[in-house]
């Protein structure tokens, strides 16, 4: 997301808005006769299903690699060769691969567009776009005050989102335990882009001001012992109690899957937007697919 411009992002979000009516029901023939190849070298549920849904709702077809082919690839076939071959079958390729930069390399050698659906610890741009779309539809991108909560050290989702939000002059609060705070290099890079960052370890410090509360999982593996983990993770859990002093129209987002960082009691409040957020993956991926395939929305 570091090299997307604001104009490009805005045009994708606008396109998604136009296509949203086809995302949950009905269909369109916009991508009639087009084939999307899904190359997933790592497991995924939501990303994979929402790309397939997006393609099919727009009248296109999808082809998939089955898991034995993934394992034979692990034994030796070069990704570069697979990309060249599959590019002869399909009009567009969605790639998830464990190596950072795999999508970039694929785009260099492929005759058809490559959409990055996650490259190791690298990027997952359609996730960021759907996060932005959710903020736009359920809150506002202008003058946004957002709190990013949880694992800000290893969480690529929040890094990409922070870069994208730097284009919208958002005020970002980074809430994490000390050992999981945002890496210095990323913080410096963001500050250079003129973004206003406030760092804290306490959820209470930011909850009253936030328009958006973006929650991410704190992983057990990051802590030396389970006691320490439970203590830390517990203090970032979003519950009805912790929402008592928040803004009336605050929204709560989460990239999912959730474990217990948001109480299920919160699900039924008007603030909970994480399932809607997952749904918005469909119109956003419709927008990206139709854009790279050169079809007017």
């Amino acid at each position: 997301m570091r090299d997307f411009s604001r104009v490009e992002i805005d045009s994708i979000l606008q396109r998604a808005e136009k296509l949203e009516t086809f995302a949950s029901k009905g269909s369109s023939n916009l991508l009639d006769g087009k084939i999307l190849a899904m190359l997933f070298y790592e497991p995924s549920t939501r990303t994979r299903l929402s790309f397939e849904t997006a393609m099919k709702r727009l009248g296109g077809e999808t082809i998939n690699m089955v898991s034995t082919e993934v394992s034979s690839a692990a034994k030796g076939e070069m990704l570069a060769d697979t990309i060249k071959v599959v590019g002869e079958y399909a009009d567009v390729i969605v790639l998830r691969h464990p190596k950072e930069g795999s999508a970039r390399m694929s785009a260099e050698i492929s005759g058809v567009p490559i959409i990055n659906a996650g490259d190791g610890a690298g990027h997952h741009p359609t996730q960021t776009l759907l996060d932005l779309y959710t903020i736009k539809r359920e809150s506002h991108l202008h003058n946004l005050n957002i709190a990013l909560i949880g694992d800000l050290k290893y969480g690529r989702t929040v890094h990409s989102l922070a870069y994208a939000l730097s284009l919208y002059d958002a005020k970002i609060s980074m809430v994490s335990p000390e050992q999981l705070c945002i890496p210095i290099a990323i913080k410096e890079d963001l500050t250079k882009r003129g973004i206003n960052i406030y760092e804290t370890t306490k959820l209470e410090d930011v909850i009253e001001e936030a328009d958006v509360i973006y929650v991410t999982r704190i992983q057990r593996e990051r802590f030396p012992d389970i006691g320490e983990y439970q203590k830390v993770a517990g203090s970032y859990r979003v519950s009805l109690e912790s929402l008592k002093h928040c803004k009336e129209d605050v929204i709560i987002m989460h990239p999912l899957p959730r474990v217990d960082e948001i109480d299920v009691d919160v699900d039924s409040t008007k603030h909970a937007k994480y399932f809607k957020q997952a749904f918005y993956g469909v119109p956003v991926r419709m927008a990206v697919l139709s854009l790279v395939l050169g079809c007017e929305a």
Binding site: A80, K99, E100, G101, M105, D119, G120
Partner: protein, 154 residues
């Protein structure tokens, strides 16, 4: 003879002057002059210079550098000057130019980068010269290298 010329003059070859102090041995590494080599080389380290405070100098006989070698030297010694010596005289003098990008010169430090696999891909880095210390950014994984660049040369 100039004061700084501490070794005998060479007839034909290259003098790499104004090398950042401490980088002379890395320059030799770039030129492939390590261990057993028949190259006639003299190295001067930490001499006083008017231009910079201290500098290293490398002189190699009967050798002119290729552009790839010059790019590498630019990365570790951006202020170096390359003097081509022909018939004892400085025939051509050029400051190294730090390019905006380098291909196949540096290995990415990220073990999980696609450029460190058996895939047919050449490492590529963009060079950020805006700070006093240059910073390389892998175009594939975006990881940066700014310290000890010499250790990452291919």
């Amino acid at each position: 003879m100039k004061r700084e010329l501490r070794v005998h003059p060479i007839r034909n070859g290259t003098v790499i002057d104004h090398i950042a102090p401490g980088q002379a041995l890395n320059v030799l590494k770039i030129l492939g002059i390590i261990g057993t080599s028949d190259a006639v080389v003299s190295v001067v380290m930490n001499v006083q210079s008017k231009k910079t405070h201290k500098k290293d100098i490398v002189k190699v006989e009967d050798r002119e550098l290729n552009p790839h070698e010059v790019d590498k030297i630019a990365l570790i010694a951006p202020s170096a000057t390359i003097n081509i010596i022909r018939d004892y005289k400085v025939n051509k003098k050029d400051k190294v130019i730090l390019p905006d990008a380098v291909d196949g010169v540096v290995r990415c430090a990220n073990p999980n980068c696609i450029s460190n696999t058996h895939e047919p891909v050449t490492s590529k880095f963009t060079i950020d010269k805006s700070q006093s210390q240059i910073r390389l950014r892998c175009i594939y994984c975006e990881q940066t290298i700014s310290d000890n660049i010499a250790d990452h040369l291919l």
